[in-house]
Symmetry: C2
Subunit: 639 residues, 2 copies
């Protein structure tokens, strides 16, 4: 079992990520703080802080926003705490104190804290776990509390969270006078486990386990709850709401084999199962999480790391059904996926988990935010034809990033992912440091034998060379993840090639390191033309261009309209780094041709071919130059 390396021990100074983290720190955090306070001109008021003020009796009025509006504040605090832990900021610290003391004022004597029910009537609380997100909001509060405590050492939010957790512990459990329910939108499981780790109260971990064990037990709690609320109960049909698979609640979690239902819910459930299973050593739980995780990455994941192939329920579809133009691929769902992968990796280290984190991080997650950090994608399609998005009424794909959302779950999720990026880079145990992502940084590794300083200098994602310099005399093991895309690679110690045979995708260098010892990993980044499994109907005859961890796409801006008429020839792709383009990207250009024909809708004439060079940009950077067509998958000119 590996453990995370504390964020504070990681200083990221990476050419690629540092500016993005700075942007999160300097642009996203203040922007969201203002948004939570309804101070962003032209953006619909969030009402989040106002809800807390009303709940605290400091203001009159009704509840604004979604039942889970509180979670926007908790996620902001989690993200801001990560920022604070890695770089102190008095202003930010005070802003959080302010928000936390407001929340404390809103908290009820028995510890309950959810402004929706405090404002609308506490008698109704816990009566609609299925739809009303109380436990989801609580989970985000707990994650925020753990992060804030770790960042500041202050127990202000931790105490608020524990009081609410104690309240939940009283209300939920096996006893007859307790509720035998569980979250409609999973998150409390993960939050309670993290709160347990921070506050040390085992009841929290037990409750997290209880939520997981009750889920899907017959008779279904949600069904009983629906009946109690007099809600019409559909009989178990294919409808994901009727059979409760939308909530991953149709069968007990240990019996679940494939990803189903709402993708973010599914992801948070898996992360919770991995977290709880890791802390309790419950193998059946982590095996179940791993089984569903494998179904996702083996059969239901887009090449960008996007998950959720249908708008209908923002949900998983069926194995191999991966339409590029009408996927949902919610940014939050990809974040939930890497939260899961990172936890499963700590339980049983394998480079495949890091591959998933890398795939989603550099592609389907980064695409969720504009380069200026001010606009966001909720959905991350792999193919966009704007006129169809606008006119076809069953195509509700965003073809432009938005400033903010009524349901603002993705922006703060991106914030906490960027400011907490360190969480995804390293894992460790008593004597081994696992390097999972190659991001330039200084780390101090608290081994049992003492703290070891490590310097990572990486050229990722554009150059496949990473140099790890040891700054402290120490005996330990360095485990380097070999990315799955690296067809060739070499590991050198002080210039001498050693390249040991990898175990589970990691190369292990054990021994006595001296200050200045330099270990280099070189994985030449070549342009790779990827084919999708022939089991998926969506990509037959097509290829996707990748280079290192980056998935590329074609945009109208560089290639003209009707991208579907472009065919790629694989011979000799050219690559060049464009410093001025899209904040600096490695572009890939390939020979190819464009097919065009006369105006006849159907004709026996073969389309004509005109040679055209295809210019690819990284997928994460698409949509930053105005509205236009985009596609990741391109026709292969077959030989």
């Amino acid at each position: 079992m590996l453990k995370p390396l504390p964020l504070r021990n990681i200083r990221i100074d990476d050419d690629f990520f540092a500016p993005r983290i700075e942007n999160a720190r300097n642009a996203m955090i203040p922007y969201m703080w203002d948004a939570l306070h309804d101070r962003v001109p032209g953006v619909a008021p969030s009402g989040c802080i106002r809800n807390f003020r009303i709940a605290a009796g400091l203001e009159q009025g009704g509840f604004t926003g979604f039942v889970f509006q509180d979670s926007d504040l908790w996620k902001w605090i989690e993200g801001a705490s990560y920022a604070l832990e890695t770089q102190w900021d008095d202003v930010l610290d005070r802003q959080m104190d302010e928000a936390i003391s407001l929340a404390a004022k809103a908290q009820q004597p028995d510890g309950y804290l959810d402004t929706y029910y405090i404002i609308n009537g506490l008698d109704k609380r816990f009566t609609n776990l299925k739809d009303h997100h109380e436990l989801y909001v609580a989970g985000h509060m707990f994650e925020a509390a753990a992060a804030h405590y770790a960042a500041t050492g202050k127990k202000t939010l931790l105490d608020v969270a524990c009081r609410f957790a104690d309240c939940l512990v009283r209300h939920f459990g096996p006893k007859e006078n307790q509720l035998h329910g569980y979250p409609g939108h999973e998150e409390a499981e993960l939050g309670l486990a993290r709160l347990y780790a921070a506050a040390g109260k085992k009841e929290y971990l037990q409750l997290a386990g209880y939520f997981l064990d009750e889920r899907g037990k017959k008779p279904l709690y949600f069904r009983e709850e629906d009946i109690r609320r007099g809600q019409k109960v559909a009989d178990g049909s294919r409808n994901q709401w009727a059979n409760y698979s939308y909530f991953q609640a149709e069968v007990p979690v240990r019996e679940q084999k494939v990803a189903r239902g709402h993708a973010v819910r599914q992801g948070y459930l898996l992360a919770g199962m991995a977290e709880v299973g890791g802390l309790t050593g419950d193998q059946t739980l982590t095996d179940a999480a791993n089984r569903v995780y494998r179904n996702i990455v083996d059969k239901q994941m887009y090449i960008t790391g996007g998950v959720g192939a249908t708008h209908d329920g923002e949900a998983f579809s069926l194995d191999y059904d991966l339409p590029p133009e009408r996927c949902y691929n919610e940014t939050c769902a990809s974040i939930a996926l890497i939260m899961t992968a990172q936890r499963l990796n700590r339980i049983s280290p394998d480079s495949g988990y890091g591959d998933t984190v890398e795939r989603a991080l550099y592609n389907g997650i980064l695409s969720g935010v504009s380069l200026d950090g001010k606009k966001y994608f909720y959905m991350n399609p792999l193919e966009v034809w704007p006129v169809r998005c606008e006119k076809r009424q069953d195509m509700r794909i965003d073809d432009e990033r938005q400033g903010w959302f009524g349901c603002a779950c993705c922006p703060p999720n991106l914030l906490r992912t960027l400011t907490g990026l360190g969480n995804y880079l390293y894992s460790m145990n008593d004597d081994t440091l696992y390097v999972d992502q190659y991001v330039s940084s200084h780390v101090s590794v608290p081994f049992e034998t003492g703290v070891v300083g490590i310097r990572v200098k990486s050229g990722f994602p554009w150059d496949g060379k990473a140099e790890i310099t040891v700054e402290t005399q120490a005996a330990f093991t360095l485990a380097l993840r070999i990315p799955s895309w690296a067809e060739k690679w070499a590991v050198r110690l002080n210039g001498r090639e050693i390249s040991p045979c990898p175990e589970n995708g990691y190369v292990f260098l054990r021994g006595e390191f001296h200050p200045g010892d330099a270990v280099t990993l070189e994985c030449p980044m070549t342009v790779r033309f990827i084919s999708a499994s022939t089991h998926t109907p969506n990509y037959a005859g097509k290829t996707a261009v990748t280079r290192g961890p980056i998935v590329y796409c074609l945009e109208e801006t560089d290639n003209g309209k009707e991208l579907w008429n472009l065919h790629l020839e694989k011979s000799v792709p050219e690559t060049r780094f464009e410093k001025e383009l899209l904040q600096g990207v490695e572009m890939v250009s390939c020979p190819g041709f464009r097919e065009s024909a006369g105006e006849a809708l159907y004709s026996a004439c073969e389309p004509e071919r005109t040679p055209q060079k295809l210019h690819f940009i990284p997928y994460y950077a698409w949509g930053n130059r105005g509205k236009g067509e985009m596609t990741v998958w391109v026709h292969k000119a077959q030989k």
Copy 2:
């Protein structure tokens, strides 16, 4: 201006169609008669006849079915009348008399006849023209009346229809005390024009014109009606219901340029415009109909003649958006398309109209009924992956034909198309017979100079030779449509090639014909590989196989699963007639290969290719051998 050749003058004895018409006569007519009487075991009761009995006071109870349930009877009578006109049947004649006298009993003193409002309250009639189909039902009654009168010479239904039409003439019109509305579902326009032709009352034609002229005038009648009914009125957005384009009512019909909204409504509107414009000589009206018709066939029609690219509103989508797997392509919509094409052709003869009739008739319409004539498709997709239809909740494609529908509009529409097939084969004027479709038949052509007997012997759709033998000494002109798919063709008179230069796609043979004169048209049927316009994103890199008028498809039964992995090589297709297969079809086989790969979802390995012969069957015959995959468009193995 051409006129139709009376059905009774046409005796079809075609190898391909005669058995289908017999099936309609012997299987569909009795089946539907029983269905209308709720006598089909295992099929949800239609309630249609029961509604009439209740409305006539012969039975107690409430209304069953849709607001337009009556139309099922009217369409059945229209179809049965065509059957009767071409071959007398005492039983059928009596069944219609029985139904008509029942309808007469249900008719109100003022002529009103719609069982929905007679049963639910006449005070509400004409208050929801937009949604409640009263005028649609009336239109079908009028078409049935015209057909029944032509078939039997009896005025029983004609009188009922005229009484209702007179009632409408009183209620609708420009006068202040009249309603200035029009049908929410078009059909009355066409019906009134046909009733005018049968009964000779010019008020009916005027009312049809009034409905057409009022449509889309500001202020919108439907919007006013919504407001009167206190229905929430959405402001003019992209939503087709909010802006009334679903009803083709957002602008006056003469200003409409593209097909929009519900596809069947659009088709019946165009047919009505063509019928009224043809009878009144109103060029602006027929030009408008022709303009929208051209938008359909040039930019919004599937290769099978299917129309309606989206389920959302069973509607047209946008130009060139023609997804094969999620189209609607309602059988009724293709029927409405040929009803329009046939009428526009009479106004200004051009073989292109006959091409559309041929395309839809042999493909997207015939596919609507199973080979045994007992099961029906409402939707006619061009690609089916059953597991996706079953599990993906936003894919509601029928992958199997159904026995009957709650909304049973398609089956009787197929019935009237088959029994009335003669309507689509010939047109004429004083001295010219236009042969539009090559279907073996005897016809007597009532020229001014006398009746001329013609014998057509055709090998269509499998063999491109048609022989037209003149049986009467007469001077007239024979106009033969040259199908657009005929890359080579020859016309011979008594064996001597003449092949005159076509005008508007017809070759004209003028002169004195002697009994036994034989004119032959030969258009060799070669396998043609069709490409779609490069403006459509759906078929890039793909081809469709056709031969003569037939569009082909691949089925799982003949080619295995995962049809999307098959790639077609165009070299030397083989064709053979399979007498025992699917009631006898010409099969097409082409060399090709299947791509397959390992289990990895994404991989840099090229899929492997295994040679596989691709076996195509006619699209109309798909789905007659159990559930399975099907596709019309196939990847081209590019050279």
